[in-house]
């Protein structure tokens, strides 16, 4: 994929070129939104809003990491969603089953490549980490998701969050410490394999 050429075409209004970029980045942006918001539907809305906003403001992109620039739009969309969520009643993370109970592992989220045991373990781990992520202040959450989950470097995170580099370093360190404390405190939520690893470390 010739990213610079696609960006240039998209800046001239070529929607096909932009959609090629969308297909390339949609998983990353959706995962960022999902970890910041902790809700599939809200994450999907935020991702769609982010891509729409990105297309409308594509001319404001002046080079640099396009991934970081896109993550900036999705982070902003997540902040907007969170503000909206505050004004609306909360939506449960898991959908209800037929008998009214919450489903721990929604069927449509299952990865077909995993065995049922692996899927169950992945669900447990995801649940535990998301639980701890949700406990973080949103600005810490965004930094740790972008740096540790998306693998953005400090400069890219600073560009995405629109904050100084020192602030990013500080927030990331504190976010990691809080996550560590949370995961140690709620070890019963972690799958057994990961609990043992924790104990060994």
């Amino acid at each position: 994929m010739d990213e610079p050429a696609l960006i240039q075409s998209a800046q001239r209004g070529d929607l096909d070129a932009f959609n090629t970029l969308v297909l390339h980045y949609q998983d990353a942006l959706f995962n960022t939104a999902l970890r910041i918001l902790g809700d599939d539907d809200l994450a999907a809305d935020a991702t769609q809003d982010a891509f729409l906003s990105a297309f409308q403001h594509l001319n404001s992109y002046r080079g640099g990491s396009f991934k970081a620039w896109l993550h900036r739009t999705v982070t902003n969309a997540c902040y907007d969603e969170l503000r909206r969520k505050k004004r609306r009643p909360a939506t449960p993370l898991e959908p209800d089953s037929n008998d009214g109970d919450e489903m721990d592992s929604p069927r449509w989220l299952a990865d077909p490549r995993l065995t049922p045991e692996q899927q169950a373990e992945a669900d447990e781990l995801e649940h535990a980490i998301q639980h701890c992520l949700d406990a973080l202040p949103v600005e810490f959450r965004a930094v740790v998701v972008l740096a540790d989950l998306q693998g953005l470097d400090y400069t890219e995170v600073a560009a995405a969050i629109h904050a100084p580099l020192g602030t990013i370093k500080s927030r990331l360190a504190r976010a990691r410490l809080r996550l560590q404390e949370c995961l140690q405190g709620s070890a019963e939520l972690l799958p057994v394999a990961f609990r043992l690893q924790e104990e060994q470390s």
Partner: protein
Amino acid sequence: MNPRDLELLSAYLDGQLNSSDSARLESRLASDESLRAALDNLRATHILFRQLPTRRAPRNFTLTPQMAGIKPPAPRAVPVFRFATAIATFLFVITFVINGLISLSAPSFAAARIPSAAGAAPSTAHQESAPAAQAPALPLAASAPTETSSPRLMSAAPMTTEVPISSGAGSVPRTAGSSTPEMVLKSNAPQVENAQPMNVQRNELSLPFDLEILFGFLAIGFGITTWTLPRNNERSFRKKWNKK
């Protein structure tokens, strides 16, 4: 652990420390067991966090032209039809107004004739010789010079039978009576000749009703085409996009 050490350890994990800071921290880690334990814990958390499964997007987030607010370029014929609509509307309005004014002025044409026929003040040489003909001359005076219209209007008698507007047939004897016999004789010859051109002039003044209707239909037709052409174009653009 103090916040400064925490930041150093976190940056060290990410390889973001410069060589001197990194060397200094490594020497401390070699001697400080608690600092080493803190680094191990942070690393374990970091590794665990990276185990978080990556989800696939539940759907494609590609944008449609409608979402992106993109409209297909308007067909080239649209400005032409827009201009044609404007012209047809303008012509329709003009014909409508002209015909309307003429039909409005027709009753006053007839009404004004009787009182003015009795005592209209002469204003031109011809009017002096034909004072009774002054009244019919008034409405036409706007479009035709008085000097030329006056002799014709003296021949109002034959006209009145043909043009219902100037139905003041009673003015004929008065016209004749108020003129000298010589003048009547003098004016009778051109009157008969002028009767036909007079009618033509009246008919020329009021534009054909068919023309008004034609312009009206043209304006509506062009207007509808101007309105539907971009919409049809947009619909086919969307269909083409959805097929992709």
